[in-house]
Amino acid sequence: MSLVRDVEALLFLSSDPLDLAVIAEACEAEPDAIAAALTELAHGYRQRDAGIVLRELAGGWVLASHPDAEAAARRLLAKPRTPPLSGAQAETLAIVAYLQPVSRPEIGRIRGVNAESATQTLLERGLIEEAGRSQFGASLYRTTELFLKLFGLGSLADLPDPSAFDPAPEVEEELRERLLAAGEARRGDRATDSTPPADALSG
């Protein structure tokens, strides 16, 4: 029946859970008929041991890959999961790596711009993780084991000495203070997050 086909196509195209009423409206059908189509779909997937499962989540109905296929999925996705770092991501990651644990407001102060989106991406990719709270209640971040592995580092002690890239070696302040001072000075200049092109491998 073509209603089941339409429902399946909509679920396939949508990455977010779809409400029964929303599906009904798009298919120009009654909610009861949609409910029946969903039951038929779920039954079909189970019966033929499909790679897709139908799940009911808080927000509605959504398709997902079968959990038993996860091992194969990991092998497929292992490489694409390490895309090049954008300029904003590299900056944020460098600050976390050298100053950890460090809070997001502090990262923002050093970069002169908001670090929210870069921090979020680094968290999602597992390069950094939360490490408790600062005395003011802000989340603190540190790098992960995955970070060490992806950068080929045995431990944090293997991080290259930043003085090699130091534009003002005569200044004998602590790295944290100097970064904050430079960030403060930069603040006026960088109103928006202008991300330089990604170049993970060109370094």
């Binding site: 196509a9 396939f12 195209l13 949508s14 990455s15 997902a64 890959s65 996860e70 999925a73 990991r74 092998r75 996705l77 292992a78 999961r81 390490t82 770092l85 300029g87 590299a90 900056e91 990651l93 460098a94 600050i95 790596a97 050298y98 050093i110 970069r111 999602e124 990719r125 597992g126 084991e145 995955l146 592995k149 992806l150 950068f151 080929g152 580092l153 293997d158 991080l159 290259p160 000495d161 930043p162 090699a164 890239f165 130091d166 534009p167 003002a168 790295l175 100097r178 970064l179 001072a181 430079a182 960030g183 000075a185 930069r186 006026g188 200049d189 170049d199 993970a200 491998l201 370094g203």
Partner: protein, 260 residues
């Protein structure tokens, strides 16, 4: 180029260009093109010529030396550009062509244009037919969205991090703000001024800012707002952009006594 020993008083360096790919003197454009830092194909030479003609008009006289220099240079640029637009040695070939050969060449081009217009129709139809097939684009489920430790390879060079730190340690150059006049007027000053006027009972806003610059006018208005908020004055404006009359209230009398 101007003849040696007789530099023209007015040089092409004075010809300021504002093109899509370049803004600055004509000289510099030439240098950058010769150094291949600007792609000549991206330079709108017609705009350069128009700028030059405007330049001549503005001067109101034709400097022959300058005109010659410009013509020689722009012709060279045009020739260079037309060569760039033709692949290989085709230009030389084309100039050697007899008329019938040139016609054959032109026919070849017309046929090619016809062919790719046909191909374009084919692609447009194909795209329309493919339209109803939609592809899924969804973010990966959370657990799959990151590399796992056992499968992770060292793919990022650590120098990427030190370069980022080095860039962050760099202090930005000091911005020269000497051309911005510092504000010479303070709210306290204007408050005192307005309060002095209020002792008369009422005054016109215009009288409070006679001969003042824009910043002073703004700060005076700010001072008035402050006093209005505190209930020390009332003001009336009969119509938009009309005269503003400011009058003291009972409380302002008390305020004046207190500050006296």
């Amino acid at each position: 180029m101007p003849p040696p020993g007789r530099p023209s008083p007015l040089r092409l360096i004075d010809l300021e260009l504002d093109l899509e790919v370049f803004a600055g003197p004509f000289d510099l454009l030439l240098t950058l093109i010769l150094r291949e830092e600007i792609d000549l194909l991206e330079v709108d030479l017609a705009d350069v010529v128009i700028t030059y003609i405007d330049f001549l008009e503005a001067r109101g006289e034709l400097d022959l030396e300058l005109a010659t220099e410009f013509l020689v240079l722009i012709t060279a640029l045009l020739e260079l550009k037309s060569r760039l637009m033709l692949p290989g040695e085709e230009l030389e070939d084309l100039l050697e062509l007899a008329p019938d050969e040139a016609a054959a060449e032109l026919l070849e081009r017309l046929l090619a244009a016809h062919r790719y217009r046909g191909a374009a129709d084919f692609l447009s139809a194909r795209l329309a037919a493919e339209g109803p097939y939609r592809f899924r684009s969804a973010p990966l489920p959370e657990p799959l969205a990151r590399a796992t430790l056992p499968l992770a390879d060292a793919i990022y060079p650590p120098a990427r991090l030190t370069r980022a730190i080095g860039a962050l340690l760099t202090l930005p150059p000091q911005v020269n703000v000497s051309h911005i006049p510092t504000a010479k007027v303070s709210v306290a000053e204007r408050l005192a001024h307005v309060r002095a006027l209020l002792r008369r009972g009422s005054f016109r806003f215009d009288d409070a800012v006679i001969g003042a610059d824009r910043v002073t006018v703004a700060v005076t208005l700010f001072a008035l707002l402050e006093l209005y908020k505190q209930g020390e004055l009332a003001w009336v404006q009969e119509r938009p952009f009309g005269e503003i009359t400011v009058a003291a209230t009972d409380r302002s009398a008390r305020g004046l006594r207190a500050s006296a």
